[in-house]
């Protein structure tokens, strides 16, 4: 069947090729539709032609894009929907399903919001009573950004984002890594997710194109690959060894893909990991980079949690830095795309939708294509861009807001570190549960060893065992989590993902409720 489909596809492309010739005024069949008809016939010969309507509906669920139907995104899936139902019914629900800090009480950084407010309403700058209450660096910064954003926050900017802000990002990268960055190779997007999707869209031509993705993974990757009609090639992270990855393992998976006729195009890694929370060591990164270089894979470095680090042994090191440290030909050849965002860190501005990708060693023709695609959506939203500017270019020592800003950040980070420990310890105290420490990111991903009776009950209910557990947890405690199956996990293991974000005042309560539920659950199914 695959061969037939490929032949049909080849015929379709041939016909489309004729069309392009026609467009240039060269010879070819008269009607474009004749060509289409030809292609359609070819396709029909090998496959059944899709219906147009069913039960009187064109937009019938059975008749929409297949890839879209097959796509799953568990972070806002079944558990969240059930949580919403219960919340509407009056239950007190704690949503720990999604890394959404400000929804759980985290306060935004004052300096940032003050500047944003002024950019939203520049006329406030003429009001002395407002200006008097604001630190002078806030006023200065707002004025500066205004001169750099033609038309202010209400106007479309450059499709890759304001050149000024891209320069600030480049300066930040230089400072962070010790290596220069080219602002022309930075694309600002509405959060990191659209940037990831843009890369996957470019990479995936059809189902033979495969992307290596860590298991467990953040399901943006599986969803996007599915949407694009590509193939996901999972490589397992080793839970017993702190969710580390093994290059030999990677190599074996890669080979498997190739043996199955796949073109393995790229390798994704998430550092710090989501949902797993591990921070990669320098050596890990070096091995990964070398592997990608040897095997000619585009390396997609999801580094959105780079400022969420809760231990001192493995600080964040960017893939770009390690690549440049390696130097030589590799540093010029390896195609690397790195992603960052304002949604995480201590800044936690998820709702603003601001992010960027840095393209390293990407073919200029491809960058042009990406620019073209970016331009169809005109430009990334300006407040998100402003938030990026404020994230990468912070108050400096001596600035009026500096101390307060650093204090807010420090307090926020220290609190996250404490909560990382509280959640990890809490899970580890439960019967049959083991939980690696959250070295970074925002999540706990404990492994739950469920008794046989629970597995049977789950099967009877027609649910994966971890979904069964999570639903029961939700009903009993109001805590909404995401089952491990939503992220991928080793066969026969079960996990759940929660965030470490419930505020410190209530996190002990969360652990208490969780503990009681787990004891009851185990009693019932032991």
């Amino acid at each position: 069947m695959a061969l037939r489909r490929r032949s049909a596809r080849a015929l379709v492309y041939l016909c489309r090729g004729f069309e392009s010739f026609q467009g240039l005024g060269l010879h070819g069949p008269k009607s474009t539709l004749q060509l289409r008809g030809l292609a359609a016939l070819a396709q029909e010969a090998f496959e059944e032609a899709p219906q147009n309507s069913k039960d009187g509906k064109v937009l019938h669920p059975d008749l929409i894009n297949d890839d879209m139907r097959r796509t799953v995104y568990a972070v806002r899936g079944e558990l969240m929907k059930r949580g919403e139902e219960l919340r509407k019914a009056g239950r007190d629900i704690i949503f720990t399903n999604i890394g959404n800090p400000q929804a759980l009480g985290q306060k935004p950084l004052s300096f940032n919001r003050q500047v944003q407010a002024l950019l939203n309403a520049p006329f406030l700058l003429e009001n002395q009573k407002i200006v008097a209450e604001l630190p002078e660096d806030v006023v200065a910064r707002a004025k500066q950004i205004m001169t750099k954003l033609p038309g202010g926050v209400g106007a479309y900017q450059d499709s890759r984002g304001s050149p000024f802000i891209r320069q600030e990002i480049a300066d930040f990268l230089q400072e962070r890594d010790g290596y220069p960055a080219n602002p022309e190779h930075i694309f600002i997007t509405d959060g990191a997710s659209p940037a990831v999707r843009m890369c996957l869209t470019a990479l995936i031509r059809d189902s033979r194109d495969a992307i290596l993705v860590p298991i467990p993974q953040y399901p943006l990757y599986s969803a996007s690959i599915q949407l694009q009609g590509g193939s996901l090639l999972g490589y397992n992270l080793n839970e017993e060894q702190g969710w580390s990855m093994n290059v030999e393992d990677l190599r074996a998976r890669l080979q498997e893909g190739r043996d199955n006729g796949m073109a393995v195009r790229a390798l994704v890694f998430i550092n710090p990991g989501n949902p797993t929370g591990q921070c990669l060591s320098y050596q890990n990164l070096k091995d990964l980079i070398q592997f990608a270089g040897e095997e000619k894979l585009v390396l997609l470095a999801d580094e959105v949690y780079q400022t969420n680090i809760y231990q001192d042994e493995r600080p964040f090191i960017s893939a770009k830095r390690v690549l440049n440290d390696i130097g030589g030909q590799m540093a010029k050849d390896l195609e690397l795309v790195s992603f960052h965002t304002v949604s995480k860190g201590v800044i936690g501005e998820c709702g603003l939708r601001g992010g960027y990708m840095e393209l390293l060693n990407i073919h200029p023709g491809t960058i042009e294509e990406m620019y073209k695609i970016a331009s169809i959506n005109l430009s990334p939203n300006t407040m998100g861009q402003v938030a990026l500017s404020l994230m990468v270019n912070e108050p400096k020592p001596g600035d009026a807001s500096y101390e307060k800003h650093m204090e807010e950040k420090g307090t926020g980070l220290a609190s996250l570190r404490r909560r990382a420990h509280i959640m990890t310890d809490g899970f580890n105290s439960l019967e049959g549960v083991s939980c690696n420490f959250t070295e970074g990111a925002m999540y706990s991903f404990p492994r739950i060893r469920l008794p046989l009776k629970a597995l049977e009950a789950a099967q009877e209910a027609g649910k994966p065992a971890d979904t069964f557990y999570c639903l029961a947890l939700l009903e009993a405690t109001g805590i909404s989590t995401v089952p491990g199956s939503g992220f991928g996990q080793e066969e026969g293991t079960y996990h759940i993902r929660t965030t470490i974000l419930p505020p410190e005042e209530s996190i002990k309560e969360v652990i208490a409720r969780l503990t009681k539920f787990h004891e009851d659950f185990m009693s019932k199914y032991r």
């Binding site: 937009l59 929804a103 919001r113 999707r197 990479l203 023709g365």
Partner: protein
């Protein structure tokens, strides 16, 4: 964009991600509004910044894109006050807050903050914050003479463009799926159709009749496509039109609705310019209202209506805000839409709040109403004047005819250029309207979009310009344009 092209790099075939082997759909998609001419304009602007002297003055005049605030349009005060307070609620604790901000501004900001957990910095529900959807639904109900809109059928989005992507993504299964698209069209549609591997089925708008939508034309295109094995899935209607500026009559809209029902087509109603209408005797009628008022005849219509904060009299393009309202979609298809929206988590919250305010602005009697109404009227009157000025000036040019800009933000004149120009264009390897627009840019600094970017009837040539240059500049624009045009016509009439 000046991308430094490393010769060796560009020639290399070894890249997994080289231009030759990226997705074909990505390569096929085109978007002229920010295409080659605009890129060239950017280069010229850089040169001007560096102090280079150009014959026409010291500025590039961007008339290629509906980006009002970049050209000096002032935002609506009420919107900006509320948004500032939503971003920094602490400002409300300022002892002078109630003298600086009108009561209704403070009330509104508090309302949004109370209803959106985490304010503007947190992800909302993927469909959009309930309060924003409620305000949008209330606004639609009010606009549509009381016909109720359900907030559950509203999807907030990062601009209307995102909604277009979502719907087309869902509708298109392969090249056999075709969508009726007006020619000329806003090239988001052709680009999205290419990206999602669908087929653009053109229906030509009748330039001789104020760009009228001819249903007989649509019908014959549908029949032809079907006879050749295509599934025609939807009809795109842009009303008011972009780039044409034409506004449909209610009669016409009724016929369109009935046509869609008869032919089982989803109606995709791009209504982002609904607040930009300049002609007496023409009003905006939403397709939703038209369909509902038709009663039984239109009961089966599947409709997706799209709106945005980018246009109108608010012009908040950069903020990326909008919504789509879906009518008669089966519940499980709606669930798929929600699922798709959830992968990007949510649209930006500032944009959602602004969209809510667009649909639920200050009401008469409220503190901010007077200023709001004044700002709104002032802007619409100005746009009306500019539309008239520009179209009049364009019609004075030799060989140029331009339909009235009844609505939207553009003028789309037709050019009848001498044979000499066609020849020179062919030699340069470009369509003649592109050639004209490029020459226009180099000679005058005015940035426009060639008609080929929007598609047009064969052997016709157009360009699109916005009506947005500020009033004190618009005369300058028309002068530079007239001078250039006269010279161009002279040059190419003699040479053949």
């Amino acid at each position: 964009m000046t991308v430094s092209t490393d010769e060796a790099l560009a020639k290399s075939d070894a890249f997994p991600l080289s231009e030759k082997n990226i997705s074909a759909q990505v390569r096929a998609a085109q978007y002229a509004v920010r295409g080659e001419i605009v890129i060239r304009a950017g280069e010229l602007e850089e040169e001007l910044k560096k102090g280079k002297k150009l014959p026409y003055g010291d500025s590039i005049l961007y008339c290629n894109i509906g980006n009002p605030q970049q050209l000096g349009q002032v935002p609506i005060t009420f919107f900006r006050q509320v948004l500032a307070l939503c971003d920094y609620p602490e400002m409300m604790a300022n002892p002078h807050a109630d003298k600086i901000f009108p009561k209704d501004v403070l009330k509104r900001a508090k309302e949004y903050l109370a209803a959106i957990p985490g304010g503007t910095g947190a992800y909302t529900s993927s469909q959009g914050a309930p309060i924003c959807r409620e305000h949008v639904a209330a606004g639609i109900t009010h606009r549509d003479h009381g016909i109720k809109s359900d907030p559950g059928n509203i999807f907030m989005s990062d601009g209307a463009s995102q909604s277009v992507h979502t719907i087309l993504r869902m509708l298109l299964r392969g090249t056999q799926d075709a969508v009726l698209t007006p020619i000329p069209q806003y090239p988001l549609y052709s680009a999205a159709l290419a990206l999602y591997n669908g087929t653009l089925l053109p229906y030509y708008l009748d330039e001789q009749n104020q760009w009228a939508l001819r249903l007989d034309e649509c019908k014959s295109q549908v029949d032809k496509a079907r006879s050749e094995g295509q599934n025609v899935r939807a009809l795109i209607v842009i009303n008011p039109g972009n780039p044409t500026g034409s506004v449909l009559s209610e009669e016409n809209q009724k016929e369109i609705v009935k046509f869609c029902v008869r032919e089982s087509l989803v109606l995709l109603a791009d209504e982002v310019y609904q607040d930009n209408i300049y002609i007496a005797g023409k009003t905006f009628h939403s397709f939703k209202r038209v369909a509902v008022e038709l009663g039984k005849e239109a009961e089966q219509l599947v409709l997706v209506s799209m709106h945005s904060i980018s246009k109108g009299f608010y012009g908040e393009c950069g903020r990326r805000g909008g919504y789509m309202e879906i009518i008669n979609l089966p519940a499980d298809v709606k669930a798929q839409l929600i699922k798709l929206s959830s992968i990007n988590l949510c649209s930006n919250v500032n944009g959602q709040i602004c969209t809510a305010m667009m649909m639920n602005p200050p009401k008469e009697g409220e503190e901010s109403y007077e200023l709001f109404a004044k700002e709104r009227q002032g802007l619409l009157d100005s746009l009306k004047r500019r539309a008239k000025l520009l179209v009049t000036a364009l019609n004075k040019l030799e060989g140029v005819t331009c339909n009235e800009a009844e609505g939207a933000l553009y003028a789309m004149p037709q050019l009848k250029l001498p044979a000499g120009a066609a020849k020179a264009a062919e030699e340069s390897g470009k369509p003649v309207d592109f050639f004209y627009c490029k020459a226009l840019l180099e000679s005058t600094g005015i940035v426009t979009v060639p008609g080929s970017g929007f598609k047009q009837a064969e052997n016709t040539y157009h360009f699109r310009t916005t009506i947005l240059p500020p009033e004190d500049q618009i005369e300058e624009v028309t002068e530079r344009l007239s001078k250039f045009h006269a010279e161009f016509m002279k040059k190419y009439s003699n040479s053949s």
